[in-house]
């Protein structure tokens, strides 16, 4: 895969001058960056830099006080989660946000909710259409289960799964939405090396096979520098760097932020 080519892809998500604060506390200050089609775009920065808040703004979970987000030419002052999802943006969560009361299949099926059409009465009576629809989406979900290699855990309550697998299910739920843009919030946090390798493989495969644009928040610099096309660096809610991994690596502000001002 040639980095250059993808970075040239047209901009599908453009974040402009986003500022967000809770009460007095400023979480994000005037952040701007863009995301190109099919690239892997990483957001890095120390804890509390505002990375997750950034994703929450894109998802419409938080409403920024200023700024706009442009998705495929449409510009929004603030998003609402439903609309974002309909536009094909999926998301995994930093500290797991799985539906603990459900098993793996149900979690993934939940990811299909936007695609399911049968109404309450059809489901209540479980008549033809509702039933067919259920089966057809189950087939799709089984595809994802195979892709993520979690067949043995289908019927297990997600709460009972080991952490690494839960992360996979989280990814699976996002994939079930057939997203164009996939926001990954520290998908490898707390994983051992093998698990990380698996996760990397999945991310890259998703990016290759389905041409899904990936926005990645990750602490593991090795991973980030390996797989990202471009990287945004946040610190204390401000953008201090943006560019290819090499550019970022050279950026003095970034170095200061990570290594402290000592050198």
């Amino acid at each position: 895969m040639s980095l250059g080519a993808r970075s040239q892809g047209e901009v599908i998500l453009d974040v402009r001058n986003i500022s967000l604060s809770f009460g007095g506390v400023k979480a994000l200050t005037d952040i701007s960056f863009d995301i190109r089609n099919q690239e892997i775009r990483s957001i890095i920065g120390p804890n509390g830099a505002g990375k997750s808040s950034m994703l929450n703004c894109i998802n419409g979970v938080y409403t920024p006080q200023q700024g706009s987000i442009t998705f495929r030419g449409q510009t929004f002052a603030h998003m609402n989660p439903r609309r974002v999802a309909e536009m094909g943006v999926a998301r995994t969560f930093q500290n797991l946000a799985l539906f603990r009361g459900m098993n793996v299949i149900e979690n993934l099926m939940a990811g299909r909710n936007l695609k399911m059409r049968s109404n309450l009465f059809q489901q209540a009576l479980n008549i033809g259409f509702a039933r067919r629809e259920e089966v057809e989406h189950r087939r799709f979900v089984e595809g994802i289960i195979d892709f993520l290699e979690i067949q043995p855990y289908r019927k297990m309550a997600v709460g009972k799964l080991p952490y690494g697998l839960q992360k996979r299910v989280d990814l699976g739920r996002a994939l079930a939405m057939e997203p164009q843009v996939l926001l990954l919030d520290e998908p490898m946090a707390g994983m051992n090396v093998e698990e990380k390798q698996d996760m990397c493989r999945f991310i890259l495969d998703v990016n290759d096979q389905f041409g899904t644009t990936i926005v990645l928040i990750e602490h593991d610099m090795g991973v980030v520098m390996d797989i990202s096309d471009r990287v945004v660096v946040l610190d204390y809610g401000k953008k201090i760097g943006d560019g290819t991994p090499d550019e970022v690596r050279e950026n003095p502000d970034v170095i200061r932020a990570y290594l402290g001002t000592s050198n």
Partner: protein, 321 residues
Amino acid sequence: MSFVPTWERQTDMGFFLETLIGGLMSGILYSLVALGFVLIYKASGVFNFAQGAMVLFSALAMARLAEWIPHWFGFQNLVLANILAFIGALMIMVVVAWLIEKLVLGRLVNQEGITLLMATLGITYFLDGFGQLLFGAEIYKIDVGMPKEPIFLLEHMFQGGILVNQEDLAATVVAAALVAGLAMFFQYTVTGRALRAVADDHQAAQSIGIPLDRIWVIVWSVAGFVALVAGVIWGSKLGVQFSLSLIALKALPVVILGGLTSVPGAIIGGLLIGVGEKLSEVFIGPMLGGGIEIWFAYVLALFFLLIRPQGLFGEKIIDRV
């Protein structure tokens, strides 16, 4: 010959004030019961539905002991009897608190709020049954010698004056004093601070060596004490009888209005609800056929919540993902 007042026709203003005062008076009592809820919720995250049952139980204990103690020790001094009965009832409530902690809450740590709520409902049943079994189910009298007759204020200002009942007045003073005292206790005493620490963060509190279980026993004892005082006030007013346990329902809108975790919330909420329901019943009620004050209190609370979902003084909830 019983006392017959000369009611002159009142000015509307006078009557309005009278209703307002009446509302404030019941309000402060609601605050008192609500405080019981808040104390326990803050310290142990339990929404203690048994508060009402505790009021009944303690009042029953007080009333009956006041009857029995003179029998047992053969003296006829009402004051002494009441004092001893009060102490006795208080000790009983402490034991109850201790048992509740040991047998119930101690074994339900880290359960969901709803489970704990249900547990306290179980406790409610138990106390209702046990109280009536122990002390009887008839109507009993607590006579702390409160004056019963009304007095008239500001008669020179409003024709007909403003009727205020001395007993309510006394009750209000006691309740207000207690409420203030508890607020102090929370702010300034070591135990109070410990309680707040526990309320804010169980683990942290434990890690700095605050013994949770003992704190809980203390809190429940304090709640028991509050219940006892409320029981005595209402009991001496209405007579001690099963229905006292229904006070809990009066305090619920108060606690959600004020915010489950806020002492000042309980106080202000109580006054708001008290005034709100009296004014509504007296001035809106007649148009709707009366009897609206119960649901009015809840609807009032509901509307406050729609504006501030965490109650007037509760902590704000921010979603973190």
